[in-house]
Symmetry: C2
Subunit: 704 residues, 2 copies
């Protein structure tokens, strides 16, 4: 029961070792070794050197730590890579990011507000790099004269941001344990709305990667316009690097990741401040590609166009929800600190967004295909000097960080949903590399596909983007409304009203965004969400069905085995070993079968009576303690007589499980697989619908 503690007593000192393990050869207890025996054993066991030796870890490399009777804790050593490549990348990771953090350690290493702002804000703040431009790109359709409408639109979006942030402050206070849109919706509105949230969030994660990467590449190509034609390739390379990095285990938890957001905040804020001060001082600043003359638009300035511009700018609100997910990471008092950070973030976002819009309007900036609005502002304020490049580089960096958050966010959400059994269970354990890998790969592939499909152009992706975000806002605020109605804590009516306002406003915006952007691409993300919803729904239904079927009705204190396999025969098992020849693998299998039951029987199917007799003689000499049954198969089939024998054995021992034990040859080359183990595959298919029949394959490793 205590694997690490009860080491065998008769240890000998280490005799060979590699860099992280020591191999000790231990004589097996209860067995007097005669001189001829080691060789005999090696011959019999078909073992490679070291097979029967026991690997003892050094004390510092213990993988399980005993906590008490029947309780262990896995140490960080379980994650220790065993391959050379694994050790190499682990070394690099250690240098860049530091050791993996246990859940408990994470709890001790809480985030200060300053650090939390860096960790959680990149997705949200980075949108100020493209939101203004998206508004201008719509307004320009009605001519350069309409561009000045961007300032009131930006102010409207800032008000919207204030409402959303207020709502989320409420959510943070109500769920200091870390809510998240999905959890709040599920708790208050039930499963189907939470699946809607799940599907919108999955689509949003894909679009976050695509939009952020596209905008980041635009920041780079604005500084180096000759790269503009290669932007799709650059974007896909970025996504590929992010995918690989995340597959190899890069996390956003290290301090390294706190730097770019502050460089961005300082450089971007500095640019806006200098620009606004110089404007206020009356400097005559104008962009190089300014609207020199009044251009006529192709459309008239309708309310619909204004709403479209508003919808495009509303993408700036994406990422506000991140802090609500991460409340438990804050230093105590968690909720208050998180709320404060949320407000800071919203203030920075609002001022950046409105400031950018005001400067763009006053500099008469017109969106250009190969230069972002932000780069034009930077060029106007700083000229094309080092500060211009600093703004471009920090913008690109924070956008890549924003994309990276999606790579961490999707597996996290998937793990929460898997624990709720609305996603396949293999996503449930977040720390398993494989659990992450699937999500990361899908995210990388899907966002690359989106980037290629939309030519890595931010303004073509934006119409797909904002709808899902506002649906999620609406549902989670709706969840909060229900929460307050149930909770009835002091001032619940006020809070309900605030969240209700948030719900109504974000709901209206969701409708506006959906309606004005439907034809431009929102239909595509809506369809993707609908498909995902159906998939999640069917998974949920299947797991619910499964749970219903597996529901237990066991009386207390009863022995399980008795209930499943009867009282008298409940502890034994009908063990059948089909054999085709006498060799090491077959003998190992028979030996294994004997450990399962003293009454194991071997069965040999032949279509020649003489072969059967010869085999029996050989068998009785080699394995006298396991009875052999020979089944003649005059119709020259193998599988059917075997099945008939298994059925017959099952009938004679109806209160026992039936176990069929077979050797499984583990081969060295892929094509060798076709040459072995067919009987196991066929028996499994044939016995698939028999209850109480188990097929056991005993691996035997071929060396070549």
């Amino acid at each position: 029961m205590n694997p690490e503690d009860e080491q065998p007593k008769n240890e000998t000192p280490p005799v060979e070792g590699d860099d992280d393990r020591t191999v000790v050869r231990i004589p097996r207890p209860g067995r007097e070794a005669s001189p001829a025996e080691p060789e005999l054993h090696e011959r019999i066991q078909g073992a490679r050197p070291g097979d029967r030796t026991i690997r003892l870890t050094r004390p510092g490399e213990q993988k399980l730590r005993r906590l008490g009777a029947g309780a262990f804790e896995a140490t960080v050593n379980v994650l220790r890579p065993t391959t050379r490549l694994g050790r190499f990348t682990a070394g690099i990771r250690h240098i860049l990011i530091g050791r993996p953090l246990a859940t408990a350690d994470q709890a001790h290493e809480r985030l200060s507000k300053l650090k939390a702002l860096a960790v959680f804000s990149s997705d949200n703040l980075s949108s100020s790099a493209y939101a203004t431009e998206e508004i201008l790109l719509v307004l320009i359709l009605a001519g350069t004269g309409s561009l000045s409408y961007s300032v009131p639109i930006a102010l409207a979006i800032a008000c919207l941001a204030a409402i959303v942030v207020t709502s989320y402050v409420q959510l943070v206070r109500a769920y200091p344990g870390g809510g998240g849109d999905y959890a709040v919706t599920k708790e208050n509105l039930g499963v189907p709305p939470s699946l809607v949230i799940g599907s919108t969030l999955f689509v949003d994660y894909i679009l976050t990667v695509a939009v952020s990467t596209a905008a980041g590449v635009a920041a780079i190509t604005s500084a180096a316009p000759e790269l503009h034609s290669a932007r799709i390739e650059i974007a896909v390379v970025f996504v590929t690097l992010l995918t690989i990095g995340n597959l190899r285990g890069i996390r956003e938890s290290g301090s390294l990741f706190a730097i770019p957001p502050y460089v961005f905040i300082l450089s971007f804020g500095g640019m806006l401040a200098i620009g606004l001060v110089r404007l206020a001082l009356g400097d005559e600043l104008h962009a190089a590609t300014q609207a020199s003359a009044l251009q006529e638009g192709t459309q008239t300035l309708t309310l619909f166009l204004l709403l479209r511009a508003f919808s495009s700018g509303a993408a700036a609100l994406t990422g506000i929800e991140a802090i609500a997910d991460g409340v438990p990471s804050f230093k105590p008092p968690e909720a208050r600190n998180a709320a404060t950070t949320l407000v800071w973030m919203a203030c920075i976002l609002g001022s950046f967004f409105v400031g950018t819009t005001v400067l763009a309007t006053h500099f008469d900036i017109v969106p250009a295909e190969d230069r972002t609005v932000v780069s034009q502002i930077a060029a106007t304020v700083f000229g094309e000097g080092p500060f211009f490049y600093l703004v471009q580089v920090s913008t690109a960096l924070i956008l890549v960080l924003a994309a990276n958050t999606a790579f961490a966010g999707l597996p996290t959400l998937a793990s929460v949903m898997a624990r709720d059994r609305v996603m396949p269970t293999q996503f449930a354990f977040r720390g398993d590399r494989l659990a992450f890998s699937n999500g990361i790969l899908v995210l990388g592939l899907a966002s690359s596909a989106v980037l290629v499909l939309f030519h890595a152009e931010t303004h073509r992706l934006i119409p797909l983007y904002a709808f899902g975000v506002f649906v999620a806002f609406t549902l989670s605020q709706g969840g909060m409304v229900v929460h307050w109605r149930r909770a009835r804590t002091p001032h619940w009516r006020l809070y309900l009203a605030l969240n209700g306002l948030g719900m109504v406003v974000t709901g209206v915006v969701a409708v506006i965004v959906g309606a004005t952007k439907f034809a431009a691409g929102a239909w595509l993300s809506m369809s993707a969400m609908a498909v995902l919803f159906v998939v999640l729904w069917r998974i949920t239904e299947h797991y619910k069905d499964t749970q219903d079927q597996l529901g237990v009705g066991l009386p207390d204190q009863a022995s399980v085995a008795e209930h499943f396999y009867g009282v008298s025969g409940g502890r034994s098992n009908t063990v059948i070993v089909p054999v085709d020849q006498i060799n090491r693998a077959v003998l190992r299998t028979v030996a294994y079968a004997r450990t399962l039951s003293e009454q194991a029987v071997a069965v040999y199917v032949t279509d020649e009576r003489e072969a059967g007799d010869a085999f029996r003689r050989q068998w009785e000499e080699s394995v006298p303690d396991v009875p052999l049954t020979v089944v003649e198969s005059p119709y020259r089939s193998l599988i059917e007589p075997l099945l008939a024998f298994i059925e017959g054995m099952d009938r004679t021992r109806p209160d026992q499980a039936v176990t069929v034990v077979l050797p499984e040859y583990v081969v060295k080359r892929v094509w060798h697989r076709a040459l072995h183990n067919q009987l196991g595959v066929r028996l499994k298919n044939a016995l698939r619908n028999r209850p109480n029949t188990v097929i056991v394959e005993v691996p035997y490793h071929l060396e070549r």
Copy 2:
């Protein structure tokens, strides 16, 4: 040990039943049924109605017959189809072909010479339908004047046939147990030449199907020329029907199959006899499409052209070897009867072939694209009356039968080779439908592809065909030469000389065929044979490697288990059950694990301490007799801590096998598979290289 005999004593009369089984509900022994229990059991076991009931076959439906202690014989009932479709096709098969024959029955139902001729001759005799035409098609290249050379060429081929038949008569006498080219070559020349035979025979089987089908279709389109343009489609349909028929189990063993060869022999022989008699009587008979004037050829009549014509005609010899394979099917004295039948067959072939050639020359027949030479002879002799159509139909039928023999021959050869471990072992049991299926499907697909590739034109396929046949002849005669040198039975020098002559002559012909037909297509079949040879060689090498590794060095009378798992601990097993929740499937799995070892332990991995404590409380109430180990995984991974635990358990009990028992959810829909059983797959991958570790999946059937 005696599944059918030791029926439980406490049977109750049948209470429910379907058309071939009776279901009886038997109270489990040693258990007093309380009124509440049946329902309880149903709830606990997760069983469908009937799960715990015992299926008793009716006396007439016994699947195994007891022969003695530990010896059974499978009855024909093991082949009884269990699906409705299976029963339907079995019924049709029964009507058409009769019951399946056991090996022993076949031995009793030996073939008379007359029946054997029908069974074995179709491949060989059918070639007289196209051999003459193939000669004429080459000679016509040198003008119609050269066509008369076909008679001496046909006579030469008849002599060649006589030599080959003499050689095979020797072979039949030397191997009355049934030799076959492959077996004779392997025994006398060793494995590599036998693999050459194997690869040439596999290619020949494909070409037999293709050539016979093409010629059969040509016989049909000669009678109905409007079908000529659809000949590829017709040929592929024929092959498809043959494939399906053989997949469903049509065999050539029934009496039904004896009719077409005799219809063919009578009608074809009658046509030749009448034609020759009328010629002898001086009737002026001329073909409709005769060579009215002397046409100039495009080539001069060189020795090379004559040899090409000879090579084309030599295809007539294919199929001679069939009787040598089937000696044990003859009535005793087997060898003598087989030899007699062989001589008969050769005489019929020779007279048909020479007769056809003589008539074609005297009727001045010129090969035409849409009419076969045989159909022209038939039309000339009979006019286009019923006898003309009888010749065409019987020719088409015997050609289809010839193709069908390949469908039986390939799996038979594959099974012999699989027993010699030069083919994958799954081909070894001929009676298994799956063993046949693979070979039949490959044969059907390959020959269809060849037919499409060569436009189902016989004369384009012939160049590929004859080379392999003569290589096989040469090698098997070479094998006979070695045989006589070793056996030194009376007159061995004479026999050696005869087989030596056969070897030299067929060797020379093989070279001639290879050289004259190389560019025309023989290179293609040679390449295919070379590739197949390499594949067979590598399979042989791998199995040899495997056998070397599995070779046993067990002392007599020793207990296997002791040698594999030590004396003291040899009979027990470290059984570990990873559990994730308490449900029916998990409890069944735990109950099963308890049947494997009294010391089975459950292990629960969690990343939350509270969840672990809660689970332990629940577990100790539900399953008090199986200890639970909780492993906390602070790094949030599932698989690595589990592996560490398994490793630790293995270290503490180094002399035992380790068995990890998991539930396996057997799902109803294919897409549900993605939602279950991931842990098993991942553990298998992770434990793949650990010796002595077995993963057992206990199936649990989900109903929806």
